[in-house]
């Protein structure tokens, strides 16, 4: 019984962040909850789609941008992160994020998925399904980070870092926004994880790439991508999988999910064209890497907005974020001089921040129940900014501490020789012929 209370509480809190659904499901909770097979079917599918984003989606998107001698190490890192987070999420992460607790972190009531059953519901879907859907988010977030320190981190250090980070940074922040924590209560809008997932990963990546230092040969040798075919496959699977990420965050197969899918498609396409256009003007040629990078930037930017904005709003969010991410991956990076190898901050950080703010601008009462700046509710932009600040500050500090400790204990960086020979051979004893 007590368990069911936790559950209801947690669920209500989570759903609170999803204005579109706030009313009925919440009620549904009070009333006798009933499983909806259609909603369940969609959430089962969404879970598969979000897993597809990390393996092989993200792994290929990243791997193709590296030199041939490091491609397997990147696939290894993404795949290993997927496995490690699955286990850690079951052990404690889910509980820290979604068990009843303080406004700052969840409790330990759901460790090892204690009390999970076939019959328990979360709104109209099985509770265990909500757990595994959220697990796929806990997988991709740390996986996104590894792009920043590609080519140079020890595999063991990477496992320690991502594992601890998920428990200490990701799980609490998820609780803040979706688990009944203070950001959710403060009215921060984050439909599918612009703040929780992308700003979070972007900032952690930035901190990590600064602390580990630049790649050997940066500026002197060619670090050109060895096979953008892989990158395009990865970007495509990210796009397709993102439907599960955004439309799945409706936790139901309804109009909100459909609208989330539509605006995701529109914003992504607009962002890709926007990056392409800017690059075409500035560099004289449109590149496929630019096109797909823009698409990812658009996917990131629409993530917090998906359930809250109308198609027109999505079009603008896409156009703006595409150009913004281009700047993030080129101008900003040059300006500051850090070596964010695969532009985790440039795209996920910048895109996430732009998206979070624009959600406050374009939010439409008719779509998601909350009005934004354009509908006269300027306050929402401030609320969004507050969500960004809280996340950036906590994530930056915590990530830095974790990395520092690991560096002291086992060291973050591989030997120069290992880096030169390539991580595939030196760390994993394998090569691509």
């Amino acid at each position: 019984m007590k368990h069911f209370k936790n559950l209801a509480a947690g669920a209500v809190a989570t759903l609170a962040a999803i204005a579109a659904l706030a009313i009925e499901p919440a009620l549904a909770q009070e009333a006798k909850p009933k499983l909806d097979s259609g909603d369940t079917a969609w959430m089962l599918t969404s879970t598969a789609l979000v897993l597809l984003m990390t393996i092989p989606g993200l792994a290929l998107f990243y791997g193709g941008m590296l030199r041939k001698k490091n491609v397997l190490s990147m696939l290894m890192q993404c795949f290993a992160v997927c496995c490690l987070m699955s286990v850690l999420w079951m052990v404690a992460g889910y509980s820290l994020a979604f068990a009843e607790g303080t406004p700052y972190v969840g409790g330990l009531g759901k460790m090892f998925l204690m009390g999970s059953s076939v019959g328990a519901l979360n709104g109209t879907i099985p509770d265990i399904l909500f757990m595994v859907f959220q697990m796929t988010f806990a997988i991709i977030t740390p996986a996104l980070i590894v792009g920043a320190f590609a080519d140079r981190m020890k595999f063991s250090a990477m496992l320690w870092f991502t594992g601890i980070w998920m428990l200490v940074v990701y799980a609490p922040i998820t609780h803040w926004v979706w688990g009944g924590g203070f950001l959710g209560s403060d009215g921060v809008l984050d439909f599918a994880g612009g703040t929780v997932v992308h700003i979070n990963a972007g900032v952690a990546g930035l901190v990590a790439c600064i602390m580990i230092g630049k790649r050997a040969g940066l500026g002197t040798e060619s670090l050109a991508p060895h096979n953008l075919v892989l990158t395009v496959i990865g970007a495509s699977l990210l796009w397709v999988g993102w439907f599960g990420f955004n439309a799945g965050s409706a936790l139901a197969a309804n109009g909100t999910a459909a609208m989330a899918m539509a605006v995701t498609q529109i914003a992504t396409a607009a962002a890709a064209l926007s990056w392409m256009a800017v690059e075409w003007m500035m560099r004289g040629k449109p590149s496929v890497l630019g096109l797909v990078s823009g698409a990812v930037g658009g996917l990131v930017a629409i993530t917090p907005a998906a359930g809250f904005v109308a198609p027109i709003g999505a079009l603008f969010i896409g156009l703006i974020s595409g150009a913004a991410c281009y700047w993030g991956a080129t101008g900003l990076k040059k300006m500051c001089g850090y070596d964010d190898a695969l532009d985790v901050f440039g795209i996920h950080g910048v895109g996430g921040i732009v998206g979070a703010l624009l959600t406050g601008v374009f939010a439409s009462k008719a779509i998601g129940g909350t009005a934004g700046l354009l509908e006269g509710n300027a306050a929402q932009v401030v609320t969004q900014a507050w969500g960004i600040v809280a996340t950036v500050v906590y994530c930056a500090i915590a990530s830095a501490i974790i990395l520092k400790l690991i560096d002291l204990i086992i060291g973050l960086r591989v030997s120069d020789e290992a880096e030169r020979d390539g991580l595939d051979l030196s760390l994993h004893g394998e090569t691509v012929q």
Binding site: L223, A224, P225, R283, K285, L289, S293, A329, K333, K334
Partner: protein
């Protein structure tokens, strides 16, 4: 015998091979190479990082021929491989002390 090595533009390969066959060259060996020289490459840009391509794709031919044929082969190479644009490549003629056909053990001119 002479070993004639030629560095040419890749898209010229088929043309060159046919020209050589016409003058009786029975065999040759090619390998992929990258050349650095007067010809400048296009630059590649990836998310704002520019890379000058200083090494351009070339094909490396090796043709072993009897001394008397050498001059004609060089001539043919020149005519069939030239486009008149920078980067057409080079021909180098080396002396061969001995040649052997692995299958039969035939030596020198018989080996070619």
């Amino acid at each position: 015998m002479k070993l004639i090595e030629a560095i040419i533009k890749p898209f010229k390969l088929d043309e060159v091979r046919e020209a050589l066959t016409r003058i009786g060259v029975q065999g040759l060996t090619v390998s992929e190479a990258r050349g650095f020289g007067r010809q400048k490459g296009q630059k590649e840009i990836y998310r704002g990082a520019e890379y000058e391509i200083s090494f351009l794709p070339k094909i490396r031919l090796e043709i072993a021929v009897p001394d008397e044929l050498a001059g004609q082969v060089v001539e043919t190479l020149r005519n069939s491989a030239a486009t008149g644009q920078i980067g057409d490549g080079k021909i180098f003629v080396l002396d061969v002390v001995k040649a052997v056909r692995i299958r039969t053990g035939e030596e020198d001119n018989e080996a070619l």
